[in-house]
């Protein structure tokens, strides 16, 4: 597994400029939202939906954008890694080795997962420098780490599922796509989900991202301890606990199909 990480890190660093831009984009996005929240400052005291999250927009949206990358990761990391390897022919070379298909796919996505996590950390680190009248409650890190771990697990469940789709159909899957789209809309990345009517909020509560963000905000913005967001933890754990075995079974099925069709490594 480590071999995959090393390979992708080396490839990434070899595209120096692009690597630099990815880092720079974190800074520019943070600053953009900083100014947006600057504008909202006059009214933010009156935005009732922000109250539960410390009352200020910048802190709120910082958590939102930092962790929303896991949506992209789930949607794209496995799919893109597999697709790219299919197109170049490296997939066939990797599949001809004794490493099982699942490990090849997981390994190929590992770097994106690590990069996503590093990016989220960078967002928080840089963003916290821009925070005013508010600070990140780093002392709540055990809860935040727990949320992060469960988020990664939920991301894996979705990612493995979409990898199965790529292996079989050679194209992205509608399910993960729909979940990602709905999450952008409903889960409270840029605005609190509390602005929606109760029915829509209940739908939002079915999305893992909703729970990730809610729990992260409670922990990092208000310093709440785990008991304040235990419901979200349970949801994420259940999602991962059910989702990972299911998506693995689906993935194995898809690989068997592709092997029979002789299309394991073709595009």
């Amino acid at each position: 597994m480590y071999e995959f990480l090393r390979r992708d890190a080396k490839v990434a660093v070899s595209y120096r400029l692009q690597f630099f831009f990815q880092i720079a984009s974190v800074l520019s996005v943070s600053i953009t939202f900083f100014f947006l929240s600057f504008m909202l400052r006059q009214v933010e005291g009156g935005i009732r939906s922000l109250e539960g999250y410390g009352g200020r927009y910048f802190g709120f949206v910082l958590i939102g954008i930092a962790f929303s990358s896991y949506l992209d990761a789930a949607l794209r990391m496995f799919a893109q890694a597999v697709r790219q390897a299919q197109m170049t022919g490296t997939l066939e070379a990797m599949l001809a080795t004794r490493t099982p298909v699942g490990a090849v796919v997981a390994g190929s996505a590992l770097y994106t997962l690590a990069f996503t996590t590093a990016r989220a950390a960078l967002f928080l680190g840089f963003g916290s420098l821009l925070l005013e009248h508010q600070r990140l409650h780093w002392e709540a890190w055990p809860g935040a780490a727990l949320v992060l771990g469960l988020t990664v697990a939920a991301t894996l469940a979705l990612g493995v599922f979409s990898a199965g789709f790529i292996v079989w159909f050679k194209q992205g899957d509608p399910v993960t796509g729909a979940i990602a789209g709905l999450s952008w809309l409903l889960s409270g990345i840029l605005y609190p989900k509390e602005i929606f009517p109760a029915g829509v909020q209940r739908l939002a509560d079915l999305l893992p991202m909703t729970h990730t963000l809610k729990a992260m905000r409670l922990a990092l913005l208000t310093g709440a301890d785990v008991s304040a967001f235990s419901g979200s933890l349970v949801f994420l754990a259940a999602f991962a606990g059910v989702g990972i075995p299911l998506s693995l079974a689906w993935f194995r099925f898809a690989v068997g199909r592709a092997r029979r069709a002789g299309s394991l490594a073709s595009y």
């Binding site: 480590y2 071999e3 995959f4 090393r6 390979r7 080396k10 490839v11 070899s14 595209y15 170049t88 022919g89 490296t90 066939e92 070379a93 990797m94 599949l95 001809a96 080795t97 004794r98 490493t99 099982p100 090849v104 068997g256 092997r259 029979r260 069709a261 002789g262 394991l264 490594a265």
Partner: protein
């Protein structure tokens, strides 16, 4: 069943299901059409033997090699590699059979030769000092010692081919399969690859090799024995000179079958 054979195929069969097309979607209860790729192939290769797998386009060569390498599953018969059936257990095929891919795109161009080989060594279960030593050893074997720290994209075509052979040897598999590996090479480079396979991999290292090609001269130059596949069956086998006449007849017949269509096209063009 003798375990003395490195590779032993018995009644190996494979049919690909064809995708539904157009109107067929309207009648999903109809059975799907199939393409028969292998129709009961029997074949054996001894350790230290090089068998050329000859056959015209579509004869089933690639399918056969991929089944051995665990990339495609068979639906009838057995494919034994040193006694164990890889048609049943594709993971075993992946461990015991080296599928040599010489397509230069199957490497990471932005990494050095060493990093490339280290990565594939990792996938073969070699790590740390052991992997480093193995990479060093295989690279030297193929005269790549000096090139280990060059980026892959800075190599010449011939050097890339040697890196591909080195990759095939990393895991030290007892059986290696080659699928038209000289197709994109000029005559000189093709000859170099053949000599490496013949003299290094088969004669010196004693591995069993199945070498697919549709080039008769290549088969004659490299193989101890040829097996001719045609329409998914073994049409004949033996030392090249003994079966040459029959091989030529099969290739000619296959080409003549398409002759009619061709002359129609040419007629049209006139």
């Amino acid at each position: 069943m003798s375990a003395a054979w490195a590779v032993e195929l018995r009644g190996l069969g494979k049919r690909y299901r064809l995708p539904r097309r157009g109107r067929e979607w309207l009648k999903p209860w109809r059975p799907r059409r199939h393409q028969e790729a292998l129709a009961g192939v029997d074949l054996a290769v001894a350790p230290g033997e090089l068998v050329a797998l000859l056959g015209p386009n579509g004869a089933g060569k690639t399918t056969l090699l991929k089944i051995l390498a665990g990339l495609v599953s068979a639906d009838a018969g057995e494919a034994r590699v040193h006694g164990a059936d890889v048609a049943r257990d594709p993971e075993l095929g992946r461990a015991r059979v080296g599928y040599v891919l010489t397509d230069e795109r199957s490497f990471f161009w932005r990494l050095t030769v060493r990093d490339n080989l280290r990565f594939f060594a990792g996938l073969e279960g070699l790590f740390g000092a052991e992997a480093a030593a193995r990479v060093e050893y295989t690279a030297r074997l193929l005269g790549l010692g000096e090139l280990l720290d060059r980026r892959f994209n800075a190599l010449s075509a011939g050097q890339k081919q040697r890196v591909a052979l080195a990759r095939g040897l990393l895991a030290d598999p007892p059986v290696l399969v080659f699928d038209e590996v000289t197709r994109a090479l000029d005559p000189g480079r093709a000859e170099q690859v053949r000599r490496l396979v013949r003299e290094l991999i088969v004669e010196r290292q004693g591995r069993a090799v199945l070498f697919a090609t549709h080039d008769l001269a290549e088969a004659r130059a490299i193989a101890d024995r040829v097996v001719l596949l045609s329409g998914g069956k073994v049409a004949c086998e033996g030392p090249f000179d003994a079966v040459e006449a029959e091989v030529r007849a099969v290739f000619r017949a296959e080409a003549e079958a398409e002759e009619g269509a061709l002359s129609a096209i040419l007629q049209e063009a006139r």
